[in-house]
């Protein structure tokens, strides 16, 4: 059984890294990546329909960024990693 101070410390750490609040995965525009390529990546990483993937692609293209996913911190980090693996410019930010 954990000591009270240890539990407090754990809670404090989780609060500090924001594990209990939602995080956005944001994709930023990069004029080099082909639009068809970006759409393909969204479909493969998030399982989006073609329509949804294209909507996000156009949002990135027109507005410079698109929030492509929102949820828990760990999953958000995983998606950013996947997007970096496809050389898309992606970041996570607090929702």
């Amino acid at each position: 059984m954990r000591a009270a101070t240890e539990i407090e410390e754990l809670e404090k750490t989780e609060e500090e890294v924001g594990l209990d609040r939602p995080w956005n995965v944001v994709v930023h525009n990069d004029p080099v990546n082909l639009m068809s390529y970006v759409t393909m990546v969204f479909r493969r990483v998030f399982g989006h329909s073609l329509q949804k993937a294209e909507d996000h692609m156009w949002e990135v293209h027109r507005n410079g960024r698109s929030i492509v996913w929102t949820g828990g911190r760990e999953r958000a980090e995983f998606y950013v990693q996947q997007l970096h693996g496809h050389l898309l410019l992606a970041t996570l930010e607090a929702a």
Binding site: V17, D30, P31, V32, N33, L34, S36, Y37, T39, M40, R43, L50, E77, V80, Q81, H84, G85, H86, L87, L89, A90, T91, L92, E93, A94
Partner: protein
């Protein structure tokens, strides 16, 4: 040059002129990660939040090595396929197993991003394909960018066919 996707297990590029054959051979090596600008583009920060220093440090320590390896693996697959490029009558034929298509997509995307970043090309410069005459290094780069874009577009369409083709 002819693209052939009729086989169930392999793709073929036929009648490749020598100059384009040379550009194909450069795909695995053009992504020069010794260039700091290219390395920065290939391994961007996962956050712009200044308070997330720990995430940035962890990313460098644990995520970037895996990405490095994945990028390298894709280029290795392409390099191996290119070793099988056959010459006949002054033109080349390249066979790409369908199972290698994603590696080709990744390697071509790496090559395009590296070229633009390293040479600081504007999109106008990189999108003006094909140059009528190859007289300068910039013309060569535009040819290279345009050629890689053609192949990449073709391969992406094979992986994710447009609705009318589905």
């Amino acid at each position: 040059m002819e693209f052939d996707a009729t086989s169930a297990d392999r793709l073929k590029m036929r009648e490749i002129p020598p100059v384009l054959g040379e550009l194909l051979r450069e795909i695995p090596t053009v992504g020069n990660l010794d260039c700091p600008k290219v390395a920065e583009r290939f391994f961007p920060s996962p956050t712009s939040d200044q308070t997330e220093e720990t995430l940035r440090e962890d990313w460098k320590a644990f995520v970037e090595p895996g990405l490095h390896e994945a990028f390298f693996d894709a280029r290795q697959v392409v390099e191996a396929d290119l070793r099988g490029m056959a010459e006949e009558g002054g033109f080349f034929t390249l066979t790409i197993p369908r199972s290698h298509v994603m590696a080709w997509i990744h390697a071509l995307n790496q090559a395009r991003l590296a070229l633009v970043t390293h040479h600081e090309l504007t999109m106008d410069e990189s999108a003006s394909w094909p140059p009528e005459v190859i007289a300068t290094q910039d013309d060569w780069l535009r040819l290279q960018m345009g050629f890689y874009e053609r192949i990449l577009g073709w391969l992406v369409e094979l992986v994710e066919p447009p609705p009318s083709a589905e």
